[in-house]
Symmetry: C2
Subunit: 380 residues, 2 copies
């Protein structure tokens, strides 16, 4: 296995591309979807099933883990991989997004951010240097710079001030990373700029000047709508270097993923497959299903006849019974089936790109999902 971090592009189809990110802990096939393991667990799944579903990498949350059980504690226990029984790559976000969305009494300054833990109310400081320190203590293979996730909506001026702070933090992160990271670990910058094209472009160029192993696009899927999101993705990917992975943070639906891959995105993370799984919803090759619906009470069809996931072989009537009864096994099976569906979606997308038929593949998935009745897609 390589001791260096590298990214190799394998095939292209329009702006879409497949490739391989090599890390000391294994290869990540791109486009890649990273299941989210917020608190050192991909919720309601055994780690071996996350791997069996096809995931090459998972995401874990700096914010959550520094609060509980604590980064120093995880380091003392041998690092996050050992702690959570996951030996493939892990990407950790820097905590910026969670500080904005979960913590209370935030105070943001040049040095960093001070906030109250949402768990026990303790006052916690997070600086660019501490964000890197925590990620190094966890042993993350891909680390993210600390940024301010610009709230939406924001005026152009607010967005500009915010992204400039994020750029200064990004520089400090790079210095800290250079001093502390282990060989083969990587650091990604994060493009901000809200919905302002020139700010997005400026952010991307400034980050490239600092120089990172990969580039994320942050601050999207926060209410701006799919059209605006894709516009910002296009602007960023037009500027970002071809030979570095591009990661669209916190996205999204199968449709979002394919439209973003078409624009040159290589990596994604989202809680959608696992959160939906805990809320009775399934992503399948026949579209989205809400297993609470009475129409499944006597439906002897397997959850997803087209999926290779062991969990997708259970009959819909049984899953309906489990979710109606509030049984944990319902969430376990749906989470597993959803995580594997997202991996199968990525695998088929990679095959389609390599065969030069990505557009027709994406159109086929779009049609399957367009047929989903409205009551299947409702969040409960």
């Amino acid at each position: 296995m390589t001791e260096r971090f590298s990214f190799t592009i394998k095939a292209r189809d329009g702006s879409a591309r497949t490739g391989a990110i090599a890390t000391p802990r294994g290869i990540i096939r791109t486009p890649a979807f990273m299941p989210v393991g917020t608190g050192a667990t991909v919720k309601a799944m055994f780690p071996e099933d996350v791997a069996a579903a096809g995931a090459d990498i998972i995401l874990a949350n700096t914010y959550h883990l520094m609060l509980r059980p604590g980064a120093e504690r995880i380091a003392k226990l041998g690092g996050l991989h050992k702690f959570m029984h996951w030996d493939k790559p892990i990407l950790t976000d820097s905590g910026g997004y969670q500080v904005m969305s979960l913590a209370k009494l935030r105070r943001i300054g040049e040095q960093g951010v001070t906030f109250q833990s949402h768990i026990d109310g303790a006052t916690v400081e997070l600086s660019p240097e501490r964000a890197i320190e925590v990620q190094c203590l966890l042993g993350a293979d891909i680390q993210m710079v600390l940024d301010e996730c610009t709230p939406y909506p924001a005026t152009r001026e607010e967005a500009k001030i915010s992204l400039e702070l994020s750029l200064r933090w990004a520089e400090r992160c790079k210095v800290a990373f250079g001093a502390h990271a282990a060989p083969g670990q990587a650091l990604f910058g994060i493009v901000q700029g809200s919905v302002y094209p020139d700010l997005r472009e400026g952010s991307a160029r400034a980050l490239m000047e600092i120089g990172f192993d990969g580039y994320a696009i942050g601050g999207l899927a926060v209410g701006e709508g799919q059209g605006a999101m894709l516009d910002m993705v296009e602007i960023a990917t037009a500027v970002l270097p071809q030979d570095r992975p591009r990661y669209l943070m916190g996205v999204g639906t199968p449709q979002d993923l394919l439209l973003s891959i078409a624009r040159g995105i290589d990596m994604f993370d989202c809680v959608m497959p696992t959160r939906s799984g805990r809320h009775c919803q399934a992503f399948t090759w026949s579209g989205r299903l809400n297993l609470r619906n009475a129409r499944y009470a006597e439906d002897a069809t397997p959850l997803d006849p087209e999926s290779a996931c062991p969990a997708a072989r259970y009959e819909r009537a049984y899953l309906h019974h489990l979710v109606r009864s509030g049984e944990t096994l319902g969430a376990m099976l749906l989470s597993y089936a959803n995580v594997q569906f997202y991996q199968e979606l990525m695998a088929r997308a990679r095959d389609a790109i390599e065969a030069g038929r990505f557009a027709s593949f994406a159109e086929d998935v779009r049609r399957r999902y367009a047929a989903t009745p409205a009551d299947e897609a409702l969040d409960t």
Copy 2:
């Protein structure tokens, strides 16, 4: 595979014995512990892990399944085994115990019992004939007679009236079973009589006169204490035929199981391993652990170094983190480890009986569990 139900004794050590119950769906090695799959799922476990843990048979609840999703619906979907992806034997209780403990507005008469569903308040009737019909619809391999689970405490007169009603119901169950059961299915009678030795003996003899494939001892572990429970077990096993399986219902702790095996019991069921697993507690070869306890926060020991269960390989510090965070994976791992511990306990008990060293084995387990600190055994 046999098409007949049969029981063969293999070895004896004092009153303890090992054997094999043959059914069309497979062999049940005795002494056997049946994990409880109340609502067509052993809570928080994949069925393949229940099998991997070593279980030859599980128990399901007539009461719960007739209310939701309904016995006729399960029959229409191909029976309970297919519905819940479990192809080994299933024993169903008759619903008598749950009617007493869960349902409201019960009315018990000669015909049967009328009650309100605890799920939707619907009025439901359960007669001996309906109890057998439901168990046949589910496709249960071992079925139980409908009985009145005598409340504790009860006067001698109350206990006598109750067990006589249960005996008349047992006769009706046998007639219904003869008319409806499939080849190879078995029907067990249930000894009642509260804590009155002569009533217990009378109940056992009357059931033997009717004649059943096996005999359960019911109405115990309801508050009478371990001493009284074991006394009633001894009285029943002294009378019951040697060549039929004896099943002690709803029991119990590892210690309860070994003391009962020493008195000639062959089968058990209990929610303890799964319920404890959902309440942060583990049964291990080093005793009982409560993973919430702060002493485990940095304990890098595997949950149970002596167990072969994959779930028992996770470190205590990680399990502590999961249960403190309310993560589903905590319940999944502890349920799996506990169910396997109970199976390993039965496997070692069988080996000890066959080697003629059951008493010393039981004493060894007693000592391991006696060392459990009080705060580990607390129910939370």
